[in-house]
Amino acid sequence: MATIKLTRPKLDAGEKMYFGSLIKGFFLTMTHAVKSLRGKSAGSKGLASSGMGVTMQFPEQRWDEHMPEYYRGAPTLVTDEQGRERCVSCQLCEFICPPKAIKIIPTEIPSDDKWAKVEKRPLEFDIDMIRCIYCGMCEEVCPEQAIYLRKDYLITGTSRGQMVHDKKKLYEIGGVRVGLVNKWNELK
């Protein structure tokens, strides 16, 4: 390893006196203070600040409209425009889920059902939102385009039970998603 010899930079008299730099520093901090009080801090517009610094103050202001397209919120189940629940209980998401937040109990689709050839659907589909890490692997792995991370970020509850999203709740948040590949439709 080559040895590089460095000497400390030579300071001139003004730098050694230190007071000039101190006053410069005061000017810098005070400029920031005044700008932040007037709501004109650098970047406050892009960050939609509340008028104090660059901070958006949460319960009054929401960042919903500033949310990026790729935002990963709560994972949900979706139905398609034909009203079919898209999950076929393959349990890939359950196996891929890194924190093991998903629990699926599959069931057969009865033979008199319109979608009997799909064979399976979930009887229970629970996502424990305390465990969920919003990684999006379930969405990525799903072969049926059934599970999606929506933009909901306010997942709260007053007990552990409330934090487990069951099938009903998941479909409620997920809603209907149109324009998906409908591979179970009859060929025309």
């Binding site: 590089i4 010899k5 000497t7 400390r8 810098l28 932040s36 104090m52 660059v54 901070t55």
Partner: protein, 419 residues
């Protein structure tokens, strides 16, 4: 007998009013200012929510009051936390140390003049708890006891980081006490008085030490001697202020605490109210330090510009209560100075330990000593012949040059770093 009782009652009222209703509330207020001011410096908002929770009592709206109640909530939290005493500490000193930091800081309140005399019910009273003739000396004597609290806390915690913090604080505070004491000598020479109340009264009539633009309550230009004395006064002001920063362990010199190196420094092992006592002691010391700087250099309670007599004589009926206006002026100045303390904390980067010691012993100690002689020369000049004055000036210049030369020579050569 009744007179004795009345004077005792007055003393108790003064102690309670000034210590517990003026200085102690300033501690949470300065904590609040610290958090809000640092926030706006860093483009943030800071605590702005905690106020009166009226919705708890059925009202429609909460009053947030800009978060002014945040320090109260913090204090309440500290009260309710578990007061944990680790097994390995020396219990007696561990329990004694927090009290030893907070009590000296509060005792020094008693010589700070909050305002001029007030007359209530035909009785004239000074707005200072103890009007003693050794004000600054008393403050130095008592406030230097604070170092025992910190050292004992560091030692009795029986754990390495607090110990290092305690050792550092001992060295730091003892070093800077010398600069503190020496830098204030020119001021005392100038006034020829050690009574803080008289010093402030003198400044109110004849101009502040750093702003001498009025004499006998009338605006006028300062005399040549006063103008010349501005030089040592300003040097003394800078040394004194910086030393106060070091004495109160504030940011550029917060080596006893230094979160970055020593976890929490001397109070690492403390929790709950014992920790809060250290916290309070630190802020109370800051309040008293600012009060002392204002009193000595910036006119204390005086408003300045020759208006003080008019304000002090303001009275309603028999009650001459202009003094209370002066208390307000004093508190205003105090808050401004506390804001300056906070600004410094969030602007100036920390000093390294050797830089701190060098600043104290090599620069400030010598500068303060030379400053004493410069001030003495300026004060004595009218009574000396021109020859002696010149000789004195030359001697002073030679000594200054010699000190600078010694400091320069003794500086170790620039080290070669390896990267």
């Amino acid at each position: 007998m009744p007179e004795l009782l009345i004077s005792l009652a007055i003393i108790v009222v003064k102690i309670v009013a000034f210590t517990f209703l003026v200085v102690l509330p300033l501690v949470p207020i300065s904590v609040y200012f610290e958090r809000r001011f640092s926030a706006i410096i860093q483009d943030r908002v800071g605590p702005n929510r905690v106020g009166l929770p009226l919705t708890l009592f059925g009202a429609k709206k909460d009053f947030h009051l800009f978060g002014l109640f945040q320090p109260m909530a913090d204090g309440l939290k500290l009260f309710l936390k578990e007061d944990f005493t680790p097994d390995h500490v020396n219990k007696a000193f561990y329990w004694l140390a927090p009290a030893l930091t907070v009590v000296p800081a509060l005792i020094t309140v008693c010589v700070v003049p909050f305002g001029p005399d007030v007359t209530l019910f035909g009785h004239t009273e000074k707005l200072v708890i103890a009007d003693i003739d050794v004000g600054p000396l008393f403050i130095f004597a008592i406030s230097s006891l604070t170092v025992y609290g910190i050292t004992l806390a560091g030692w009795s915690s029986n754990s390495k980081f607090p110990f290092i913090g305690g050792v550092r604080s001992t060295a730091q505070m003892i070093s800077y006490e010398i600069c503190l004491g020496l830098s204030v000598i020119p001021v005392i020479l100038y006034y020829g008085d050690l009574n803080l109340n008289n010093i402030v009264q003198e400044q109110a009539t004849n101009g502040w030490l750093l702003l001498p633009f009025w004499t006998n309550n009338e605006l006028s230009l300062p005399s040549l001697q006063t103008t010349l004395f501005l030089i040592p006064a300003f040097i003394a002001f800078i040394i004194f202020t910086v030393s106060i920063f070091a004495e109160t362990n504030r940011m550029p010199f917060d080596l006893p605490e230094c979160e970055t190196e020593l976890v929490g420094g001397y109070h690492t092992e403390y929790s709950s109210m014992k920790f809060a006592m250290f916290f309070m002691g630190e802020y109370a010391a800051m309040v008293i330090g600012s009060a002392l700087i204002i009193t000595l250099f910036l006119g204390g309670w005086s408003f300045g510009f020759g208006l003080d007599e008019a304000i002090a004589n303001f009275s309603i009926g028999d009650f001459q209560i202009g003094g209370f206006i002066h208390v307000g002026i004093f508190l205003g100045k105090l808050l401004t100075f506390i804001l300056f303390f906070i600004l410094v904390r969030w602007t100036v980067p920390r000093f390294r330990y050797d830089q701190l010691m060098k600043l104290g012993w090599v620069i400030f100690f010598e500068a303060a000593l030379i400053n004493v002689f410069l001030a003495a020369l300026i004060i004595a000049a009218p009574e000396l012949t021109a020859v002696i004055t010149t000789v004195g000036l030359i001697l002073l210049a030679v000594v200054t040059a010699a000190v600078i030369w010694v400091a320069k020579v003794s500086e170790p050569p620039a080290k070669i770093l390896r990267a």
